[in-house]
């Protein structure tokens, strides 16, 4: 098997360190049984849909996204707590994906996972001593119970629980939330792992307590020489903690790279939206202009065509992958703004939206007055809320209604832009299946030259 070429995302041509973790085209699809039709051959929830990145020893790599972005599934897929359906995850050069559960078990000594909910991640039926010490026994790192107790007490002290011994015979329910999270960390790190995936470790804690736990994690990283992948939805924490971050949207990276560059100058509209959306504890910045995307994260079962973010993107344009669904949504959005009579009239023209037939690049409205509707669409289309109409190729009238046909837009590839990688049509060049370019062909030519894709 050929060694994957490292992608640091920072644009530096040569990386002196070898990555600890190399993820290539990782995909985790959950098949859906039943009659739900989906795109492509089989219906599946494409929680992780093609993610590639490297993690270097000693760094903190952030996976940032909202719920539904796939970040939790990605974190679990990295450690095979959920089986990936495609791609590879190399740990110290060895691909974990094809390994059986039995083969993975000894590796779990070196691979740790810190869970999100401190109240539910500890076994209520085990004492703290037993629970935190269990990994030691699993991997045969201690030979007697007293040895285990000593090791656990030491670890408890390390995570800030003093005196460690007093906690050994308590149960998780006897301690507070913040202390429980320290226990989760203690349990994860007691085997001295190399690589740690932390899934929202502080999301469930109060603000005044978060900092303590984050400090603890940073300290332990230094002391124990750890490498973290830190999953969170909180950009502020990510900025503080992470060396590099990746912004996930519907199972793929929208943008990833060096944290500072990403935050100072976000290149993807989604990143910009996330940054704008954060409520700031500063009343003077109230009412600032936020380019908020519309709507919410869509269903991963039927992700939008082309660029996944296009239905919500405030700056989407013709090539972003507009489709039938978007026209229906645009009409609905328009109707929230117009008065009742206009709405009734237009609805009458369009017909029952529920009966509209929506395909990939077409939508057919069962209109009772097809020519009227077609004329109206051609006239008003450009003024509809999104730029959906810019991708319309054709408006046909037929006996069964009006069919609107769209020009297909491809999914953007990752481009190297301003020191990070972005998947957005606003940057770089993507080649359509038919050979035409999205973006500047001249840039495409230079991009294809060898050695420049870093």
């Amino acid at each position: 098997m050929t060694e994957p070429s490292p992608i640091s995302g920072t644009g530096t041509a040569a990386t002196t360190r070898t990555p600890l973790i190399e993820v290539r085209d990782l995909a985790t699809h959950f098949p859906v049984r039943g009659s739900l039709f989906g795109r492509g051959s089989s219906a599946a929830v494409r929680a992780v849909d093609g993610v590639s990145f490297d993690v270097y020893p000693g760094e903190v790599f952030g996976l940032v996204g909202e719920s539904g972005s796939g970040k939790t599934t990605l974190g679990r897929s990295l450690l095979k707590l959920v089986e990936p359906t495609g791609g590879s995850v190399r740990y110290k050069g060895r691909d974990l994906v094809p390994l059986s559960e039995r083969d993975m078990r000894p590796l779990r000594r070196e691979l740790a996972f810190v869970f999100q909910d401190p109240n539910a991640s500890l076994n209520p039926a085990m004492t703290i001593g037993q629970g935190v010490g269990h990994p030691l026994r699993i991997h045969g790192l201690v030979s007697s119970r007293s040895e285990a107790r000593t090791a656990v007490a030491e670890m408890l002290e390390r995570v800030g629980l003093h005196p460690g011994e007093s906690f050994l015979d308590k149960y998780p329910e006897d301690v507070s939330g913040g202390q429980k999270q320290r226990l989760v960390i203690a349990r994860a790190l007691i085997t001295r792992p190399t690589f740690v995936v932390a899934d929202e470790p502080v999301a469930a804690l109060d603000m005044s307590v978060r900092a303590k736990v984050l400090e603890l994690m940073l300290e332990l990283k230094r002391e124990l020489d750890l490498t973290y992948v830190f999953i969170t939805h909180d950009l502020a924490t990510a900025r503080f903690l992470c060396d590099r971050i990746g912004i996930l949207y519907l199972g793929r990276f929208a943008e990833w790279g060096d944290t500072e560059r990403l935050f100072d100058d976000p290149q993807h509209p989604y990143t910009r939206a996330l940054l704008d959306a954060i409520p700031l504890p500063d009343p003077d910045r109230r009412g600032r202009d936020k380019s908020l995307p519309r709507g919410e994260i869509p269903d991963a079962l039927q992700p939008p065509l082309g660029c996944r973010f296009h239905p919500r993107c405030p700056v989407a344009f013709a090539d972003c992958g507009w489709e039938g669904r978007d026209l229906v949504d645009a009409l609905e959005e328009r109707w929230t703004d117009v008065d009742e009579d206009t709405f009734e009239r237009e609805l009458g023209m369009v017909g029952n939206l529920g009966d509209a037939v929506v395909g990939d690049d077409v939508v057919r409205f069962p209109s009772a007055a097809p020519s009227e509707l077609a004329a109206w669409l051609r006239a008003e289309g450009e003024r509809l809320p999104t730029s959906v109409f810019s991708a319309v190729e054709d408006v046909e009238t037929g006996s069964d209604g009006v069919t609107v046909r769209f020009r297909p837009g491809p999914e953007p590839d990752e481009q190297q832009v301003a020191g990070r990688r972005v998947a957005c049509h606003l940057h770089g060049v993507t080649v359509r299946p038919d050979g035409t370019h999205v973006g500047d062909p001249a840039a495409a030519a230079s991009a294809e030259a060898p050695g420049s894709q870093r």
């Binding site: 078990r105 000594r109 539910a120 991640s121 500890l122 301690v175």
Partner: protein, 347 residues
């Protein structure tokens, strides 16, 4: 290590300390009555003059004097005698011993089969699960008494009519209940993060099933145990009433009632009343224990390990523990988890 055991016991006793007064009273009263019955049944016969199947008394001169027939309660025969000249009190005591023995064995049989199957089925899932669920549902749907009768009939070919066959017949009826409850609880525990955490640590599957799942699922068993025990007394009595229980004239409450039915028309009330009362009292006692245990254990099942206690009555009784919760915990926010202020901050 004795200190480990002490810690475990103390942990097990915790729900009782935090339980509401009603719950504690229920359990205490129920246990007391059951204890009285048990003592009477096993120790009583030592002190009681008559035997359950004794119908005559040996005299000094070697001859036998028959016990009176259908004698009303007196100082001689506290609860009277039956048509067959048996002392009713003696039969109640012996019947109690039988009932307790059968009930114990039958519930043990049901538990030892139902619980492991439920665990395995719930954790493994797949075809095994589907097959077992079908079988158990079929058994469950069967009218319980009818099922017991059928099993009793079938077993008659292999076992003599006695405690083992009665226990088996009664036991089979309750296997589905253990199976169901344990399986359902396993299904929900399986989803808990700490089970996934065990996997992430590298634990083997059998360790996960025993130390992470079973230990947590086991809490639901004692309640079913006592409620089943109550029901088992009734089932056994019903079998006995139909003559399908133990071999007559072995004292058995249900059988005695069936024999006493005729007496009622002739105004004899003591042959039916006492066995009847015995059944009712023991069943009630066991039910009290079961309901009390339910109150004690189940509020904890709701509050423990859940992200965010809703402001309900039961949260109040655990709020004492919650108020101790130092560093504040919010309900998790990401990935669809909602919740109000967590146990650390409910009020």
């Amino acid at each position: 290590m004795p200190s480990q055991l002490r810690v475990r016991l103390e942990h097990a006793a915790r729900p009782f300390r935090q339980a509401s007064r009603t719950a504690k009273v229920l359990v205490a009263v129920g246990l007391l009555i059951t204890l009285v019955f048990t003592l009477a049944a096993f120790v009583g016969p030592e002190f009681h003059e008559y035997d359950g199947i004794q119908y005559r008394v040996e005299q000094e001169d070697g001859s036998y004097e028959q016990l009176p027939r259908l004698a009303p309660p007196s100082s001689e025969h506290l609860l009277g005698t039956t048509r067959d000249r048996y002392d009713v009190f003696a039969r109640i005591l012996d019947g109690g011993r039988l009932a307790l023995a059968v009930v114990l064995f039958s519930t043990l049989i049901a538990m030892l089969i139902g619980v492991p199957l439920g665990l395995l089925s719930g954790y493994r899932g797949g075809k095994l699960d589907r097959a077992l669920v079908t079988v158990m549902d079929a058994l469950y749907v069967f009218p319980p008494l009818l099922l017991a009768i059928i099993v009793a009939f079938l077993l008659q070919a292999y076992l003599a009519q006695g405690v083992p066959s009665a226990a088996a017949a009664v036991g089979v009826v309750y296997i589905p209940q253990y199976f169901r409850v344990v399986r359902n609880h396993t299904l929900s525990v399986k989803q808990e993060p700490y089970v996934e955490a065990a996997r992430s640590l590298g634990a083997k599957q059998h360790t996960i099933i025993s130390r992470y799942v079973a230990f947590n699922v086991i809490q639901s068993v004692p309640v079913i145990f006592t409620l089943n025990a109550a029901d088992a007394v009734l089932t056994l009595a019903s079998l006995g009433f139909l003559g399908l229980g133990v071999q007559p004239p072995t004292p058995e409450w249900g059988y005695d009632i069936s024999q006493a039915v005729i007496d009622i028309t002739s105004g004899v009330w003591w042959t039916a009343l006492w066995p009847g009362l015995a059944i009712v009292t023991l069943v009630t006692a066991l039910t009290l224990v079961g309901e009390g245990l339910n109150d004690v254990i189940n509020p904890l099942l709701r509050a423990r390990g859940m992200s965010g206690a809703k402001l309900d009555d039961d949260a109040v009784s655990t709020a004492g523990g919650a108020a101790r919760d130092g560093e504040g915990t919010l309900a998790p926010t990401a990935d669809g988890d909602h919740g109000d202020d967590a146990p650390g901050g409910g009020p």
